[in-house]
Every structure is written in C-alpha cells, then in structure tokens.
C-alpha cells in the first residue's frame, strides 16, 4: 500500500525541506520573540552585581566550527562587560583556532567603544597550550602563565596585570567552550580554586552542564544560539544602548536573534515530520520499523 511508502519516506525529501526552511529566514529575517531563562539570567545577574573595576576572565575555547553559536554569545557578553566598566582578561586554551576567535571578536566589539584602553580595561593574553596545566597555573600567577600578550608585548607593564594577579582577583570565569573544555573549568578551576564559573557552550553540551549548574559548579550555562539570543534579549530589556545595537541591520545579520528564526522554522519542520511519522505508523497498523 502507498501509506507504507510514506512511512519509509526518502531521507532526501526531509533534507530538502530542512534546507528550504533554513534558507528562507536567512534571505528574509522574521524576528520572533525570545524569553530569557534562569541559566542565562544567572550570568547576567552576576555581571550586574559586579562593580566597575572588578575583573572577569573570558576564555575562548572554541574553533571555527562553533562560530555561529558562540560568536553572538561572546559579542553580547563583551558588550555587557565593557558597558559596565568591568575589566576583561581574554585568553584561549582551545588549540584549534580559539585565539583567532578571540582576536576577531575583541577587535570587533572594542571598536564600538571609544574610551577603552588596552592593557587597562582589557587585555588579550592569547593562547596557552597544555590546557589543564595552564588553568591550574593561573591560580598562582597569570603573569607567569602569560608572560606576553597575544601580539608578543610584554604584559608586566600593563596595569591590568598588576591588579589582577590570579584567580583570587577574578570574580567569574566565563568559558565559551566547545567539547570538554567547559567541564574542565568546572571540574578543575571551580572545584580546586572555588572561582565562580559560567559556561557558554554549544547546545550539545548544555544538557550535560545542567548537572554542573545544579551542583553550583557552574553559576550559569548559556546553551547555544538560544542562550545567546536570550542574553541579547536581557540586554535589550535593560539597556538603551543594547536596543540600539540590536536593531542595526548589519549587526542583526550576526546576532543570535536572527538565527532563532531559522531555528524556530526548522524545529517546526522536524516536529511536523515526527507527528506525520507517528500518524503513518499507526495508520499502517504499527508496521515494525527498525
């Protein structure tokens, strides 16, 4: 019967529908609403609770393949920090391109702020190999782990480094991570040195990180594009500057909020397929599929 054929629908039809669903909003954005959730609010509140001059570490622990998810997150967090006059130490422990992500993002966002001073308000420390060993060593002295910044400048002359010596002077570590590195910050840095850790991760890692969130090993988890779009929404709700930044069409091309349109449509497509599959399954008398 033909119904049976529908049950074993050619995968390529699914692929085609998904492709079309993803292309449309890219060509013409829609702008669907977003509601922030607690795991994301956790980071927002933490940064709001800091006073100007407090310091955070942002570690770029992802490569080009996770850019679409993590770049919008990084942009939103950096903007938040700089507007609140929080000092930012930027670093990377991800070997494959983490430092490139950091350079590009930092250049892009700092160019929006006129009175930021490199070496005073923020510094890009660059990449350090040895992952966990480096993370541990930061507890003793940041200056020893990173004798030079990303461009090879001696950092001992920079005021920010004299104020922020090690984890004791850092209010929160924000890791934008892919794979296992976000966990290292919780397992290792939070567990051994009790620094609060917030992780912005790809949506894949987020379910696992809820366990860390519950146990307090992470204070916040931003999961994928949705996490990023929620952070953008929090900024928009609370700050005038954010409403301006996140309505500029050029910026919106990069923002997570636009991405959420694609997400919404493709999710609906998948849900429709699942429902369709189940209807067919029961209509054909529970055909045993493998």
């Amino acid at each position: 019967m033909n119904l049976k054929k529908l049950l074993y629908i050619d995968r390529r039809i699914i692929y085609l529908v998904v492709a079309i669903g993803a292309l449309i909003p890219i060509i013409r954005p829609i702008g669907l609403p977003v509601e922030p959730t607690d795991p994301v609010i956790g980071l927002f509140d933490k940064l709001e609770s800091l006073s100007p001059g407090d310091a955070v570490i942002i570690s770029y622990d992802y490569g080009p393949s996770s850019e679409p998810e993590l770049n919008p997150m990084s942009s939103a967090i950096l903007r938040h920090c700089f507007h609140r006059e929080i000092k930012v130490l930027i670093m990377a422990v991800f070997p494959l391109g983490g430092v490139n992500m950091a350079i590009r993002e930092v250049e892009r966002i700092t160019s929006e702020f006129e009175d930021l001073e490199y070496g005073v308000d923020y510094v890009n420390l660059g990449y350090k190999d040895g992952g966990q060993a480096a993370m541990k060593a930061l507890a003793v002295s940041i200056r020893d782990v990173f004798p030079a910044d990303v461009d090879g400048n001696d950092i001992s002359a920079m005021p920010i480094i004299n104020e922020i010596r090690n984890y004791d002077d850092v209010e929160v570590v924000i890791s934008l991570a892919t794979g296992i590195i976000g966990e290292w910050w919780a397992d290792l840095v939070n567990a051994q040195f009790s620094v609060p850790v917030a992780v912005g991760c790809t949506a894949v890692s987020a379910p696992k990180y809820y366990a860390f969130l519950r146990s307090g090993q992470m204070i916040a988890v931003l999961g994928g594009l949705k996490g990023a779009s929620e952070y953008e929404e929090l900024l928009r709700r609370n700050f005038v500057w954010a409403r301006k930044v996140y309505s500029d069409p050029a910026e919106m091309k990069l923002a997570a909020t636009t991405g959420m349109d694609v997400q919404a449509i493709v999710h609906v497509i998948i849900i429709v397929f699942i429902i369709f599959g189940n209807i067919m399954y029961f209509a054909t008398g529970k055909e045993k599929g493998r």
């Binding site: 995968r11 393949s65 003793v140 002295s141 004299n162 104020e163 010596r165 090690n166 004791d168 794979g179 567990a191 051994q192 009790s194 894949v204 890692s205 379910p207 696992k208 493998r290």
Partner: protein, 377 residues
Amino acid sequence: MRRICLSMLAIMVILVAPHLAYAQDSAPLPVAGLEAFDTPSDDGSSVTLRWEAEGNVPADVMRSTSRSGEYEVVGEAETADGIYRDVTVELGVEYFYALAFMTGDGTVMTEAAGPAAAKSNWFRHGRKNTLVATFVMFALVVIYVTIARRGKELYVRKIAGLNAIDEAVGRATEMGKKIFYIPGIMSLSEIQTIASLSILKYVAKMTAIYGTSIEVPNKDPLVFSAARETVKQAYMEAGKPDQFKEEMVTYLTYDQFAYAASVTAKMVREKPATNFMIGSFFAESLILAETGQAAGAIQIAGTADVTQLPFFVTTCDYTLLGEELYAASAYLSREPVLLGSIKAQDVAKAILMITMATGIVFLAFKTDIIVRLLETR
C-alpha cells in the same frame, strides 16, 4: 598612578613612624586582627593574609623582610575580602606584612603581622575525602579480584548490546560482507579507548574464527598502533595468525570531521554488514551512525560520553550506556578476575547510595555534616 602615590606615601609614613601611632589613635582602622601565615596545603608558592574587616575600603598590601624595616607595596586588596594571597614570595624567606590605607589624615598602616614564610607542604588537607574514596576504590577492586581468583562464582547480569555482538558478527559472515570497528576518536589517554580495545579483541577473535573480514579505521595514531597489536594478537589466539593482514587496521586522518567524512564515504561505498562504534565520540557520532543506518548496517555502539548517547540510542540497534562500556570489557572476557572488578564497582555504587541516603536523612534533621564531609578542593 595611584599605586605610585600610595607607595611613596607609605614610605614617607614609615620614615615618620611616630606619627603612625598618632594616626592609629585618631582614626579607627577598618581592619583588625591581621595575621600572616604559610598558605596551607600548597606547593610553597604563597603566603596568606587574613583579617577582620569593618566596611570596605581599598588597601595596599605592604611587605618587608624585617619587622621595622622598609615596607614595599606588593599588591592591592579590598578590606571586605578578608583574605589576600601573596604569590610573589620566595620559598622559605620570612616576611612581615601590613595593610596601608588612605584616610583623610594621610596614610595609615596596621601593625605588622608575621613573620611568615612560604613552605612546600606535604599534604593537601582539603582532599582527605578524595584520599579515602581512592583508597576504598583500590581496596574494593583488590578484594573482589582476590575473591574471584580463589574461584568464587560471581554473577553478572546480561548486557543486551554484548549478546548482540555474536549475532552481528554472524550476520556479516552469512552476508559475506565487512565489519567496521570504529574505536572512537580519542587517544589512549582516554580510558574509554582502552575499554574499546579490549572489546575489539573479542570481536577480532570472532572474525578470525568465522573468517569474516574486519576493518578498523583510526583517527589517533597511538590507538592505530595499539589496535593493530590487539587485532594481530586476537588472530594469533584464535589460531589463525596467517589470516591477519595489516590492512585490517588502517589510519585515516587526525581531523575529527575529515575522519568522519572518510569513514562515512567508506560506509556508503563498501556497505558493511555491521558497524561497531565503541569508545569516546563527539559530534561525529551522528554523522557516522546515521550514514551507517542508511547504508543498512546493524550497528552496535558504546560510549560513556553522555552528550552523544542520545544519538547512538536513536540510530543504533544496541548501545552500551556509560558504565556498561567498562563492564563490557570485563564481561566479554568472562575471566573471573575481571568480573571481580565489576562487583567492586557495584559495591562502590552501594556505598555511594548509602552515603546519599544518610545525608538526605541528616539534612531532614538539620545537620549538613555529610555534605560538609564531601566538600572538595
């Protein structure tokens, strides 16, 4: 700038020491009870200062090698922190510390605390609970392995995915097609990979006995090397050393996605009867499993990477979940010694559950002693 001013002021203050006492009398200091001591449980790289604070003002941390000597600024602190760790110390040198504040009348300094010297310690006291846990785990494994060695029968339940291995190899033999064994993408530094190799050995023994062809494509060169030894040994133990070919274990590339591309291409072109995906996987899990599924292979997966389990569960015929992967290596060998260690795992789980239950009951009676015992540092 502020630092330099403060330091200069501080030095001036020291030079005019009598005035210091006067300043202390007139303005009450925002801190009390300053003490300096070697940071416990560290490798000797720091000295810790501690004080009680009233209010929150910025302070300069001053240090000297003698009580009445010249003090220099070594850092800044906020009084509300209550604690400061000086990491610029030399191992074994004795230091005196004081805090300096800017007040309306100028700079004031607390009385010096010390002497304190950093020393390398021999034990991390915060890790006593971990030490106990490690010791218990070792003891359990040793005890149950010994019991098993003495010949006591140990029961281990059936694990569905493992029984399916025989079936899957049989299917490939009947169809005259290949078996792919993918040992994950991590190196030998990952314990899952080691577990995977011992399952590989079992599978390779079966293929040796039935004369089925097997291919093990690798991402990590060390695993490649070890997998080749493993398969070779399996063929020797099965009494078919002449049937082992080096091409059974191949190296593809070190890149996660290039590896996935090559393996999926192989799956589509060679249409294996069975795919084993056992070890540590990341995002490539679904690329491999979905392509294998579309190519019509029976698939058996196993991983302890929680993030990838949903994808294997939905696309493979059998999946070894988390701990089952580790148990599998012991279970397949059916060697009593290894079964002993599975029993040890179970006892460890029982101990943990009892600890949790006790802790929950204690909490109901408003005692958090168990929670505090489990604090880790």
